[in-house]
Amino acid sequence: MVATHVLPAAAFAALAGQADDPNAIRIVHEAQLSKHLMLIHAIAEAANGHDRGPVAFRAARELFARLQAADPEAAAWLLGLPQLGGWAHDCLIHFEQGSAADFGHFACAVAAAAVRAGFRFELDVPMRDGRVRLPGLGYLTASGSSPWIRLHCDGDRVTGGDHFEADWRQLVPDDGSGGAVPLWSGTPMLRAVTDGFACSALLETDDPYLDRYSLPMSKDLSPEEIQRWRDRFQRAWEVLVRHHRWAAEPIAAGISVVVPLTPHSDTDLVSATTPAAFGAIATSWPPDPVTLAETLVHEYQHVKLCGLMDMVPLVESGGARVYAPWRQDPRPAGGLLQGIYAHLGIVRFWAAQRHAETDPDEILRAHAHFARWRPAIHLAVQTLLDTGCLTPDGMQFAELLRNQGRELASGSVPAEADSIAREVALDHWLTWQLRHVATDPATVAELADAYRNGGPRPGRLRSTTIIGEDVRKVGSAIRSRLLSMRYLAPARFRELRADDIIPLSEPDRLLLADRTDTAIEAYRDLIACSPDPEPDAWIGLGLALHRLAASRCQPAFTTSLALMFDVHTLMRQHIDPLDLADWFA
């Protein structure tokens, strides 16, 4: 009889509380090994017939069984590979879609484990693009037209077909120390050591089953590019060890693969994690060591939560999509939970980093990051609880996250950083409202009639919080970028503002120049006089108003911007938006 893994309550609480609890991490990691074994079993049930793929899979499974018996550590190494998870995930998706899975790749994975252990074996493995891939180690370049090659290890030498031979001890990842083996390309290894603490991860640039992110993997990096990654990883590790020890050691234990991504633009920073490949994170080139350190903290949070959610369902399927303060699109409850968990790590990171920086711009950046995300946790947890999509364990977890957010909420922030962070958060929320909150046409008409007739705003309205995807087109991305640039890249922002070459509307230019009163008048004129709806100006007006002392109009923007905008658009008259906002208030 098979039992299930049990997660002790203390480990569950430790995972929610960001405590550095090696036992909790160990339990999650062990469950992943079981998960991968479970998936291999699921794949085995479908690996029938006499095609070479299923035949190779079955042979590999037999070899794996021998390896399990003779060398449990080698078997556990294989089961812990994110590359194995990525492949297994791919097979199951193929099963769901009724298409052909790559059974044969399992032979590559098992061969990798056997080679790494110097285990005697003989196995046919597939060759693709002239390469025989050994996940977690590297690949050997093969010749010939056959799509299969026989690998053999006699406990000392590994041979591949009739052209490759090497000592198994040399078939290792490439840590940059040299020792090249003809026809062998070790997967680049990132290795960092600081103050006696070491961290290493594979820079995976070849495995097709980890090239599954929303951006493509950066393949075939040059030696210079690989060295840049090594240098940056080392510097980021220094940041983590010296200022974020709570995160450093778990990251060293939990992240085994970094997948470099190619972004759409050089200035984009994109990072990602998938539940399919526990232990792997993906990121585009980080512009500085602190950013990479933050990315490692951020993505490791996702890795942990993916592992936990594999074990314990925290969220029911279905449910409405809702606002997440870090995303432009509406998110399902599971995505929001992931974001909250990741941002708890981010808040904790910046809470410490703001005291580690010495450059004024970097200090501003760190404080503003902290101030930007600190209040977002509480709001997002409440939104999550309100979805009604959490399981009882999920609700308990969310409450633990909220408590954690409260504990991080203390600490003062310099006024400039706080003010920038608040405005960027407000810009995000106002923009999101206009993009994604749909309104009820009957309600809009009712309100427009009441306003035209000079009556009070009707007290009871139909529900106005229907969330959709991009219900209105909003084009204020440049303004939003500049608002964020004030803390993300202060020097660059100062340059751009001095040059005055940014394609902004006149009201936006006034807003960015901190001429708030003039900007408000310009936004009012634009909205009132334009023959077309001006969603960007409405957002700008909301931002400008919030720079002033509290007023009756402000809540209308934060609670009812989409409705107010649609009412104004329907009336198509020269109506002062502030009069309408006052009426809404």
């Binding site: 009889m1 098979v2 039992a3 299930t4 893994h5 049990v6 997660l7 002790p8 309550a9 480990a11 569950f12 062990e30 469950a31 090994l33 079981s34 998960k35 074994l37 479970m38 998936l39 079993h41 699921a42 085995a44 049930e45 499974r61 037999e62 794996f64 069984a65 018996a69 990525g86 995930h89 199951l92 998706i93 193929h94 769901e96 879609q97 298409s99 599954r212 992110y213 929303s214 994109v270 990602a272 994690t273 998938t274 539940p275 399919a276 490949a277 996702h302 993916c306 594999d310 074990m311 314990v312 369902p313 399927s317 599971g334 995505g335 992931q338 974001g339 009882p392 364990d393 308990q396």
Partner: protein, 57 residues
């Protein structure tokens, strides 16, 4: 599945740590079958396209 402070949480992952891969087929375990079914159900719900992980979570 029940949560209790004393016992902890029974997860949905079968504990296969000490089980040889070639024994899985003869276990006849409903726990294993149920866990696989649950996992496949989650894949369907997530609607992950073949060419992509569910990235940017």
């Amino acid at each position: 599945m029940a949560t209790s402070q004393e016992k902890g949480i029974d997860t949905v992952i079968p504990d296969l740590r000490d089980i040889p891969v070639d024994r899985l087929a003869v276990l006849g375990s409903s726990v294993l079958a149920n866990s696989i079914a649950l996992y496949r159900e989650r894949l369907k719900e997530n609607g992950i396209p073949l060419s992509s992980f569910q990235a940017r979570i």
